[in-house]
Amino acid sequence: MGKLFAVVLVIIALASAYPIVTHMYVMPEDISTHGHQIDEQLSDTMAEAGISFLLAQFVLAFFVWTFAERKVGVKLKNFPGGAKVMVAAAFILVGTEVLALGVFGQRAWANVYFTPPRPDALQVQAQAGQFAFYFRYPGVDGRFGAIHPDKIDEGNQNYFGLDPANEIESRDDIVSAELAIPVNREIHMMMHAKDVGHSFYVRELRIQQDFVPGLDLSVHFTATKTGRFEIVCTQLCGLGHYNMKAYLNVMAQDDFEKWLKQKASEL
């Protein structure tokens, strides 16, 4: 019975490694300049964790197989140095693994979070609220009008609480429910939440960033392929969370300019 268990252990371990080793589930297309680093990091993590997992299962199976039946009259040997040494060894082994992942991963992380955007990056503001995203572009003057939460008037499409009656900078601000961006241009997206926590996630961009109420956060990225991609909220935010999405529309520069003009004419 014990030997059968050891065999089943090995089968389960190999079967769970199979879909990963054969790349049965492929990652969605990467449309960003930094995405390959994230993908490499993910695949390194998977390889390291996968090898450790398989080794651990095989060692476990080996022990189960060897000691399946108690041999009468044979004295059992302890781990050299006893339990303390074993725990210390485990700590060092796992610690090294985690540390190694951190050291290799910091470059991918720093590229997104510790490097400032280029000064000529396109400024876009993203606002998350229950249960929709809205995006704002500064318009021809290149400046965003101030935000006044008391002026929010959603029925009149004033989602950000602008005050165009009194503030000239607000008058040309373009507000959109889709995030339209030009291809191959860096985007500097400033993010704030209107109510509770939300998250901005575009699989193809390899960007996932929470919105935190009260904090102004920002991310920057460059999309390298045109197309329409889904933006979803990945932070449970209330009853309409499942329905909170928007679209990322990556366009050629010309099309983007046309889109901006079209939006400006609706103001």
């Binding site: 929709a132 029925g155 009149n156 499409q157 009656a165 429910a177 009853l239 609706e266």
Partner: protein
């Protein structure tokens, strides 16, 4: 003795109601609601997050907070008798508010105090209707597609902004009124309050963005009095 008194009082109240409420062939107040100045532009609504609604429109529908027509006509203004007419018992047929294409139809729903209110969802998506009542009790209710109508009523007069907690662009108004003498201005700004018994009335016009204004009018017999309202429009 007490029963008899109560009976007589009851009859007297009934008589008073029948005498003063709508009498066919009474006077009429009619007119037009217009604006002066520049009203805000009706902007197209982007419904892309809700494809089942977006696909119902060839071009995106415009916002409805200020709806204007030719010759400066102002639509969706509630014109009602605010003083001079007695409170009336509610009609039994429900006032129906429909969620269709991720919009509220009608945009402004007038109903009477304690009249049954029915909210329908004709969309393939869930809505969460949230009337922002301040005088009445505030509630919000989720309504998945295919569920029966939400039934409720309001027991105090109030103009209640209504929003959907799932689709931020959806906005409407409930006008809860004390009597049946009301009218909502049409696309040409016109309204008509018929069947008014002789008397002195205050006619009030309410617009969700521009507030309200009132005028005094005296009806003698079966005449038609003309009353016009002009609202000051603001571009922002």
């Amino acid at each position: 003795m007490r029963t008899k008194q109560a009976f007589i009082t009851g009859v007297a109240i009934l008589a008073a109601i029948t005498m003063t409420s709508a009498v066919p062939g009474g006077g009429t107040v009619s007119g037009k609601v217009t604006y002066e100045g520049t009203p805000a532009k009706q902007k197209p609504i982007d419904m892309s997050k809700e494809p089942s609604c977006a696909k119902q429109y060839a071009t995106p529908p415009p916002t409805e907070t200020v709806v204007t027509g030719p010759n400066n006509a102002l639509e969706n203004v509630v014109v009602y008798i605010s003083t001079g007419a007695p409170d009336e018992p509610p009609p039994s047929q429900p006032a129906v508010f429909t969620q269709k294409g991720c919009r509220y139809i009608p945009h402004v729903l007038a109903l009477q105090v304690n009249q049954p209110l029915q909210v329908l969802n004709e969309d393939q998506t869930s809505h969460n209707i949230h009337p922002l009542a301040k005088i009445n009790r505030e509630w919000n209710k989720s309504q998945p597609p295919g569920t029966p109508p939400i039934v409720d009523k309001y027991d105090k007069m109030e103009f209640i902004p209504v929003k959907c907690n799932v689709h931020p662009w959806m906005h409407g108004t409930f006008a809860v009124l004390k009597n049946s003498h009301y009218s909502i201005s049409s696309a040409d700004g016109g309204f008509s309050l018929p069947d008014l018994p002789p008397g002195k009335y205050t006619v009030t016009a309410y617009h969700e963005s521009y507030g309200d204004q009132s005028q005094e009018v005296t009806i003698a017999g079966s005449e038609t009095k003309s009353v016009n309202f002009v609202f000051k429009a603001k571009p922002y």
